[in-house]
């Protein structure tokens, strides 16, 4: 994955895995709002790149998005799990229940702010429901970051990049209704064997991405 060094305050780059899981999660629960977090490599000493690469996503909830205890449990488990891979929670995504509503609500802002406390580059990603379809031409997301005044500002379209080939791959997944296989934290709480890191989805993505490159 090529990463462009950018002088401007941060471009955002979404890996195929990240965008896929967000959209599959939203597609699995069309009648509800859904939420989750996105992950990035912990910032080492590398200050040459201003691009934030979001390498993966972990779907959280589709039932009650705002229950503090469950959120706390989820974030704690996720931090623990990915620590060894050098990944940190780098943002929050949400799809509202209403098709035309892509505005972050009270819950989204609160959670995104909490995550931003540990990470200035944190993103707040709203899924643009009405742009979800079976043949994606663009990534149906609105990505925001905090300004120096502490306000969430949405990034220009040109600053948000998506891994090459992702849209085709995700469209295929949606056409094949793979969303029914994605697990979120709510599923995990109902059945501990549901793995919210979705390794089976990662597998499918690897296969499809490889096929696309042939």
């Amino acid at each position: 994955m090529k990463v462009k060094a950018c002088k401007m305050s941060g471009d955002i780059s979404l890996a195929c895995s990240t965008l896929s899981k967000m959209l599959l999660h939203a597609a699995r629960y069309p009648q509800s709002s859904v939420s989750g977090v996105v992950l990035a490599q912990a910032r080492g000493g590398d200050t040459t790149s201003n691009t934030v690469v979001l390498v993966d996503a972990v779907p959280l909830f589709h039932l009650q998005l705002s229950l503090a205890p469950m959120l706390e449990v989820a974030l704690t488990q996720i931090e623990q799990r990915y620590k060894s891979e050098g990944l940190i929670i780098a943002g929050y995504y949400q799809a509202n229940e209403h098709i035309r509503d892509n505005v972050p609500d009270f819950v989204a802002l609160k959670i995104a702010e909490k995550i931003a406390e540990n990470n200035n580059d944190s993103c707040l990603i709203m899924i643009d429901n009405k742009r979800m379809c079976l043949n994606l031409m663009s990534a149906p997301v609105i990505v925001s970051q905090l300004t120096s005044e502490g306000k969430w500002k949405s990034k220009e379209k040109a600053s948000v990049h998506v891994e090459a080939g992702s849209l085709e791959v995700i469209s295929q997944l949606l056409q094949r209704r793979v969303q029914h296989d994605i697990n979120d934290f709510d599923n995990h709480l109902d059945d501990l064997t549901c793995d919210w890191s979705n390794p089976h989805i990662n597998k499918v993505l690897t296969t499809l991405t490889a096929a696309a490159q042939d």
Binding site: T76, D101, D105, F106
Partner: protein
């Protein structure tokens, strides 16, 4: 999706189960109807009409009007003047986002039958669909004055309050279901109840653990209550760790749970 391979009687039975459980499987219902059961509708006897109704609702849910509408027509012809069918027509208007017209139809049903709870609840759904949460809350509160034992409605009210960010009122709605009024203690009793009713419920155990942790770290908590609550928290955490151990899940193993969350219970939260 190859429902055409399924025995039509199996499909019929599956649809019946979903009706009885009142669960939402709209995509599957549409598929099963389209690729199988509609070819056998004349074999369904009296059950046909309940199936057709189920198909209308599932079709509307998936925005497959091509599936919903023919069934709606069949039902209209079979049950002319029925209020139950009229409700389905209003739901179709909802799907088409013709919300004001839908509300008019629901109002007409309520005028003809004041005891009709479904039409009233659909009105709340329309308001929610329009994003008019405050109005939905108002309408639902009026409904609950008449139908105060409707558990589903209290849940919905709680949900609506949470959407408005009104945690105090949400807690109250929840409290109505649980008979206890102190905010944090409500959470605790709710989870306690859930854990009792379903000991396998990890969600309840986590909720119990965390709400106990919060209660016991509150400055208002007496020494006695603190001790009891901490014991309850420790018990809950151990139960959770046990569940994970039994599962041997990769996501998190039992010993890690105790380690990770054990630390939480020692921290005093502000």
């Amino acid at each position: 999706m190859a429902a055409i391979d399924l025995d039509w009687e199996e499909v019929r039975d599956q649809l019946r189960t979903w009706r009885e459980d009142n669960t939402r499987h709209s995509e599957e219902v549409v598929d099963m109807w389209e690729y199988c059961l509609r070819h056998y509708k004349h074999k369904l006897g009296d059950e046909r009409w309940m199936v057709e109704e189920q198909v209308v609702i599932a079709g509307l849910d998936c925005y497959r009007l091509d599936v919903a509408e023919p069934s709606l027509v069949s039902l209209s012809e079979q049950f002319t003047g029925s209020l139950r069918v009229r409700k389905l027509k209003a739901m179709r208007l909802e799907a088409l986002e013709r919300f004001d017209e839908a509300i008019d139809v629901y109002d007409s049903i309520i005028r003809l039958d004041e005891t009709n709870s479904t039409a009233r609840k659909r009105k709340v759904a329309v308001l929610r669909g329009q994003g008019r949460i405050a109005d939905a809350i108002k309408e639902l509160t009026e409904y609950l004055k008449i139908f105060m034992s409707d558990g589903e409605a209290w849940q919905e009210l709680c949900d609506l309050y949470l959407k408005e960010g009104d945690y105090a009122k949400a807690a109250f709605s929840n409290a109505v279901l649980n008979g206890n009024l102190d905010n944090m203690e409500i959470a605790r009793s709710y989870f306690c109840q859930a854990a009792k009713l379903n000991p396998g419920n990890v969600r309840a155990l986590y909720g119990l653990f965390l709400s106990c942790t919060q209660v016991s770290s509150s400055s208002k908590c007496s020494a006695q209550k603190k001790k009891e609550t901490q014991q309850l928290a420790a018990w809950a955490l151990k139960e959770i760790a046990d569940r994970y151990s039994k599962c041997r899940t990769k996501a998190m193993d039992g010993s890690k749970i105790l380690e990770t969350f054990g630390a939480l219970s020692l921290t005093d939260k502000a």
